[in-house]
Symmetry: C2
Subunit: 695 residues, 2 copies
């Protein structure tokens, strides 16, 4: 009885006990919920089924998920995931995002800029090797560098041995380390994209809402040696798609959850981290919105950045709403107390893990003190003080020169040998850089730095060099040669000597700020990251000891399997159907006066009569997803594709901290609706034939 | 030579020496720049001319300026000033803001809700009486309450004696106190308003920009005893209007400047106050923009608030840009050092005023510590924690009951006898209150309070009462009866007993927060306001002693006279003309694809052919203005109306701290352009006849 009671109490925690009744979990493919699926849904997740799903799944390294949907390397993802590529190959004259695109033949498929796709081939547990390198009682500084060296070495060995991209991933917040082997694709070409007006129909107002009516899809083809790759594993298209009550699976790459966080950590997020992030997002939203409002071309240039910011702002607002809800915090407190009581009741557990919670609280206090400076200057990529692609390139060039000169084991993680291919793909990208947007964003971020540290601060004064943020930003952007990829390559090839001699103002700024950036990053790693990793590792191990090994870790932008039911919900007494229809789209547009962002593309109005309006368009399920799952295939028992995840409703945003299936739902485009639109609106015969195998 | 040199150095300060060459100054009508005008422009500002201009000028108590333009009480102001009234009398079905309005007869003139206009009748210096009440060596707390009592008494005596609204105004940041006697009008009716699309053509993107093409005007009529008032003083309409190079005057109510501020104070504004205000504005902008984007009716409901926020955001950004410009701070430092050197060189001045600068620095340190709490709870009107009209009403009802029971001299300033009429006009206003908007804004501000103080803070917890900010806001707004003016009146009539018995959740919240609000307000007054007032009084007196009395004080939303030249400028090598034309409006619309906010009202396109396209539409001048001057008449030597101020360019926003006429310009609508539009686009014959005296 005791065990069952504990199970009930933990029904909503991150690392959860095996007999859950809820459709909870972002499960590892090397630790799948086989028993749970058998018991709740009488579904047999065989190794073959799992391997098929795993190898059909695709990670978009730009931040998203997708899947193979034909043997000829055709990949489907969301429009809002693919739009990163669409925007980078667009110009004022040819706007792929707004206008959409269809390749009528292979020859018409344009190549994406700097897009990298990863397909997970296998996973290996390297916890023992990573943790074995750390001596008991090591200072955080030594532990951090020892662990980093070990991980850098493992990755390099693995890549040298297999030729595959090899990422060591900390799981269970540091409780385990697994190595992920990926097949890496960088020749990715655009096959089909609808207009943004239907892909993101309803825009920001409808984002994170349901009912919904979005054709949020996009098709790419993966090439190798200038030929489409043959995909051994791909998902067959289900023309009927999901039905209400169906068991469905989602295989994708949830980015980050915080379900394992202690209550103190959640309070820190509530009172410091999330409000800080929201302030930053809002200021950037206002800056970019104003820029966009000035002209159509401005809007096109800022579109991707502005979408990302609005999307994040709405997501973080939802998360903060959850954290500010006393009911959620008190449920978390209860869970935590129960676990701590169980640990403290067992002398061995208490000795090994009992002080982990206090250790984490100590790291939070440290973080409060240094977080402003860290956020401005410390992150591996551009700090908040320098919101500029050119600066980001400059800093990476400066560090590439420094780090390349060191042995692999001593390098910063992001310059280790195993990751250099991906780094260089980004660094030498042909993606357009717009000077007006660069100046605007850099000026605002320099202004923010001045606000946070004060105008009399020494670093502020040396960065601004006697000028106002706007004048300084303009001077640096206009003066930099880094817009030219050839210049970047010359600097990278020239190593430290070329960097030190460079008169480029962005390189000079990066050199100026680099020591400060490294200092604050090291402080943060030693006072926050490393002790947190160790303490969370203890908590994870305590849970393993108490609940056994059938637990899933917090999300890490690695492949996970979720499951659930296609199922509506009841909100404020009103029943919300599990699906919407193509016909509902037109009604929704009319209710909003057919005005942007509720204005349908012309072709959708012209071809309305062709459509079977009762076809399901979007639908919801109880699957456990979060940001990063965008583009994940929704799969039925037979391993067929029945839909594609593109959003969660507002209520699903608390899934960051806690699973609930009361109101939270994952939102997907239905496979039948996609097919109907491709056939009747777009007459995309080549694509339809490839998906269905029928003419 | 020494004196001249000092003069040159102070050419840009707030309290400036008499021989200025620049068109600087927001001059008091009882201390006008007669000599300066004579010397620079050979213009004789006679007492009769000044009295005529003064009594033709009108203050919009909602925040803006205007002027009488006919003997029958016709008043012109900006559309964006009058829009407060327009919005309050609009409904979903009849939208005066978007659609515009023209009364074809007196009977068709609709009455505004809660609009109060003030006309300045006379000014009297009461410095000796106010300062005479303060004993040397009094503690700040005693000095503050003594001064407050004296001012409350003076105002009551003056009102009882004259029947006029009587405001004691601290000038020269506390160096002098003058009493302003106003004729007060509260029956104000709408005569004419253009569509917002032309009044605010170019919207937020064009706001604070020039060249410009806005018909930012609105006409009201002032009534007494249900009859139009006869205006003895009104401005005759100049059909030709201003020409390039003309001397022009601006008579209006600049709201606030900070030119007297010490450098330490400017740094405080730069690093704390202005960034804090901008963060608040941005979060409110994002909240309201999202609400507006959801439907046309939402947009209508939020329109005024959103305009105000965007307008402020752009203004504060411009001000912050000035403060973050090292050139401006260093010029201010040089000025300050010169003044301090002059004070320190004279033993008597040094003894009397020498420590004022350090005293101010001490108040800034105190302010940094308590400002978050003060901003959330302390201001006289709603604090930032409670962004709700219903809460604002509740707090004023609670305090009205408390303060009315005290002798007049002991009351909080805003509940003193002399101000009660204006207070009650607001409190019992029929202006619509929208529940959805109330919940949205209150939830966001409760969320902000939670972010600033932390979710575990005791006040936060008692305000939220165990609910999330959104749930708590919804519960209070839905549960409050204060939407009903009759309920408010009953509570006001019932005094303390009715308030204490009330179960209204907003009244209960106001009662809960009132003691904390008073506590932090008192702390702020004693540690910041009062010592600042005393120290700035010393600095002002030091300047009087050194430079004599021909100085103008910082702006205080009281009537001021500014002057300048109608004159273009050169920006980045490009000459910008002093005026724009009606024809340019159509070109500007076309350049922006005729898309909102660059989409002209239909009637403007239909009647384009009727217009003389070369007619001046907007124009700029060097007059010294700031926010609050909106709607101020632009007047020629003959006392005729040649235009109406509606904006300043981006470069004028530094006028908050420092006058410059290099790029800063005041932007006005030209009287000829107005007349042409009224005649040809609107066929507003009744209005045109009244303005011109011709059929």
């Amino acid at each position: 009885m005791k065990f069952r009671q504990i199970v009930a109490l933990f029904a909503a925690s991150a690392i959860c006990a095996p007999l859950l009744q809820a459709d909870e979990g972002m499960w590892l493919f090397n630790n799948p919920p086989v028993k749970l699926l058998q018991e709740k849904y009488h579904f047999q997740a065989t190794p073959a089924w799992l391997e098929h799903v795993q190898k059909s799944s695709v990670r978009f390294n730009s931040g998203g998920s997708g899947s193979f949907v034909s043997a000829d390397g055709l990949v489907m993802t969301n429009h809002h995931v693919g739009a990163d590529c669409l925007a980078k190959i667009s110009t004022k004259e040819k706007d792929y995002v707004a206008k959409g695109f269809e390749a009528k033949s292979a020859a018409e498929e344009p190549k994406c800029v700097d897009l990298e796709l990863n397909v997970l081939m296998s996973i290996e547990d390297v916890t023992a090797r990573v943790n074995g390198a750390i001596q008991p009682g090591m200072e955080p500084a030594a532990a951090e560098s020892t662990r980093r060296a070990e991980i850098n070495n493992i990755e390099k060995e693995s890549r040298d041995k297999t030729g595959l991209r090899s990422d060591v991933v900390p799981l269970y917040n540091g409780g385990q380390y697994h190595i992920y082997y990926y097949k890496r694709y960088t020749d990715v070409r655009l096959v089909f994209a609808p207009q943004k007006a239907i892909a993101f129909f309803g825009g920001d107002p409808d984002n994170f809402e349901y009912p919904r009516y979005d054709l949020d899809i996009c098709f790419f083809r993966v090439y190798e040696n200038d030929k489409p790759v043959h995909a051994d594993n791909y998902l067959k298209w289900s023309a009927t798609g999901a039905s209400e009550g169906d068991l469905i699976f989602v295989s994708g790459h949830p980015g980050r959850t915080e379900r394992l966080d202690t209550v103190a950590h959640l309070r820190y997020l509530r009172d410091y981290a999330v409000p800080g992030t929201l302030n930053l997002l809002r200021r950037r939203e206002v800056v970019l919105q104003n820029f966009s409002d000035r002209s159509v071309e401005n809007a096109r240039r800022a579109e991707r950045a502005l979408f990302g910011i609005k999307n994040s702002r709405k997501a973080y607002l939802g998360m903060l709403g959850g954290l500010q809800d006393p009911a959620i915090i008190s449920r978390k407190m209860q869970d935590e107390q129960e676990l701590r009581d169980l640990v403290n009741r067992d002398a061995k557990l208490k000795q090994a893990y009992g002080d982990a919670w206090d250790d984490i609280s100590a790291t939070l206090k440290a973080s409060i003190k240094i977080r402003d400076e860290y956020n401005l200057f410390g992150p591996a990529r551009r700090g908040q003080a320098f919101n500029s692609d050119l600066f980001d390139i400059a800093l990476r060039l400066v560090r590439l020169a420094q780090e390349s000169a060191k042995p692999n084991s001593e390098r910063l993680r992001e310059y280790s040998e195993a990751g250099l291919d991906s780094l260089k793909l980004q660094l030498f990208s042909d993606a357009p850089i717009y000077e007006d947007l660069e100046i605007l964003q850099l000026a605002d971020s320099l202004g923010m730095m001045t606000e946070v540290l004060g105008g009399d601060n020494a670093i502020v004064q040396s960065v601004l060099a006697g000028k106002s943020p706007r004048d300084r930003a303009a001077e640096m952007v206009h003066g930099s040669g880094l817009k030219d990829v050839a210049v970047r390559k010359r600097l990278a090839d020239g190593g430290a000597a070329a960097i030190n001699e460079s008169k480029d103002p962005m390189i000079q700024l990066a050199r100026l700020i680099d020591p400060e950036s490294r200092r604050i990053r090291q402080t943060f790693e030693q006072q926050v990251d490393e002790p947190q990793r160790q303490a969370y590792g203890k908590i994870a191990n305590a849970k393993f000891a108490i609940f056994g090994s059938s637990l899933y870790p917090d999300a890490t932008f690695t492949l996970r399997l979720a499951f659930g039911e296609a199922k509506g919900f009841t909100e404020a007494g009103q029943k919300i159907s599990w699906d919407t229809t193509l016909g509902g789209t037109y009604e929704h547009a009319a209710e909003h006066g057919n005005k942007d962002p509720f204005e349908l593309p012309k072709i959708w109005n012209e071809r309305k009569a062709r459509l079977k309006l009762s076809t399901p368009f979007n639908f919801v399920s109880t699957a456990d997803i979060i940001g990063g799952n965008s583009g994940s295939p929704v799969i039925n028992r037979d391993g067929e594709l029945v839909g594609i995840i593109f959003d969660g409703n507002i209520e699903s945003l608390v899934l960051d901290y806690i699973y609930t299936d009361q109101l939270s739902r994952a939102v997907a485009v239905h496979s039948a609706g996609i097919l109907e639109a491709l056939r009747k609106v777009y007459s995309a015969d080549r694509l339809v034939t490839e998906l269905t195998g029928k003419k």
